[in-house]
Symmetry: C2
Subunit: 217 residues, 2 copies
Amino acid sequence: MPTVSSEELAAAAGVNSAKLRKDFSYLGSYGTRGVGYDVEYLVYQISRELGLTQDWPVVIVGIGNLGAALANYGGFASRGFRVAALIDADPAMAGKPVAGIPVQHTDDLEKIIQDNGVSIGVIATPAGAAQQVCDRLVAAGVTSILNFAPTVLSVPDGVDVRKVDLSIELQILAFHEQRKAGEEAMEALPDGLPAAAAAKGSADQGPDGDVPAVMPA
Amino acid sequence: MPTVSSEELAAAAGVNSAKLRKDFSYLGSYGTRGVGYDVEYLVYQISRELGLTQDWPVVIVGIGNLGAALANYGGFASRGFRVAALIDADPAMAGKPVAGIPVQHTDDLEKIIQDNGVSIGVIATPAGAAQQVCDRLVAAGVTSILNFAPTVLSVPDGVDVRKVDLSIELQILAFHEQRKAGEEAMEALPDGLPAAAAAKGSADQGPDGDVPAVMPA
DNA sequence: CCATCTTTGTGCACGCGTTCACAAAGACAT
DNA sequence: ATGTCTTTGTGAACGCGTGCACAAAGATGG
């Protein structure tokens, strides 16, 4: 039986082993003292708790470059997501297959949502169309929306929205880049930014809190 | 002179006003007591500190759907980013304009980086090519990399990498969706997940910590 | 069956960030 | 000028998450 210790996992993930064990303990006592965690069982338990074992049908609205990129993205299927439909407002796109799935017209949006029991929608339209698409998705029964359009969507209570801004990550890199460049002239700067200085040596690859939280619109 | 108070900004951003004032104070004392902050001056100071006033030439490597979507993304220019070049390994793409910029071949990668003084690279290639492209970018002088390929890149010290996984946000939505669905049957579940339960009512649209940190690969 | 060794699960303490609360500062009216 | 009123900037307290350290649990070998 293949096992891992919290120590091994912690080293691989770059976190403290005690924190990892405490996190796991919230899911239950799945480890064996003196041995570690049964890999297969642990993966299953975490997957289940995270909802990876379920089948999540999603629709992608707006099949431009980004929508097509998402439709072709291989990482969805392995995480339980199934692209149930692609929807675009351009009649010329209708019927054209993208990633093996024929694009359908916006007119049929409500029917598509209901027929497939979709509760998660992805918006990859231009900014101008996003709110309108969002409203229709919500009215049709969608309760979670992933928004790639550069607009803040307003939704009724009970609907989750997550906004993905592709330039934010780039901005974080630029922020660190600026720090690197200004390091030799650090003392010459008018003010120091403690939070940023502390994060100077961060070597992770994740979207974690290593940049000030407040930004201008 | 248009001004805003910390109270107004805090309400708009959904944070505590004291925290906002303290954050601003790290940048200097830009407010006026009894009045608030001069909007224009404040925006400038924050922009400067964040590096938005600088010109950041970036290259995008891998001009598939995603690369094209990034090249067309309007949000870059306004944040100080300038797409200096598009690079692809496919000779058939060479010369073809995407978003008004002619695609160049990978062979010229080093020269392009050096001629344009590029320090930030975006990788939108298939997973198999990512590490190789990364190595060449780093060797050519790039010190910050935004990675859209589903691979963890290894880089020497001093190089920043940020990995963007388009399915993670979707997974967070699915996690909350599962919670919503299981809410009526909450007591029937074998275990509760305190962190998730606490985040139940979160209504923000940002990638903040409202989901467990550790995940299986 | 007992001893030893490994690794988990967790109480406890420390440290950091958030929030409270207030004095200082400045605008504005009289 | 002087007083009042608003809002900043920040010292201090609070709360939460992280990390330490160890007892309990179980495997493994003699």
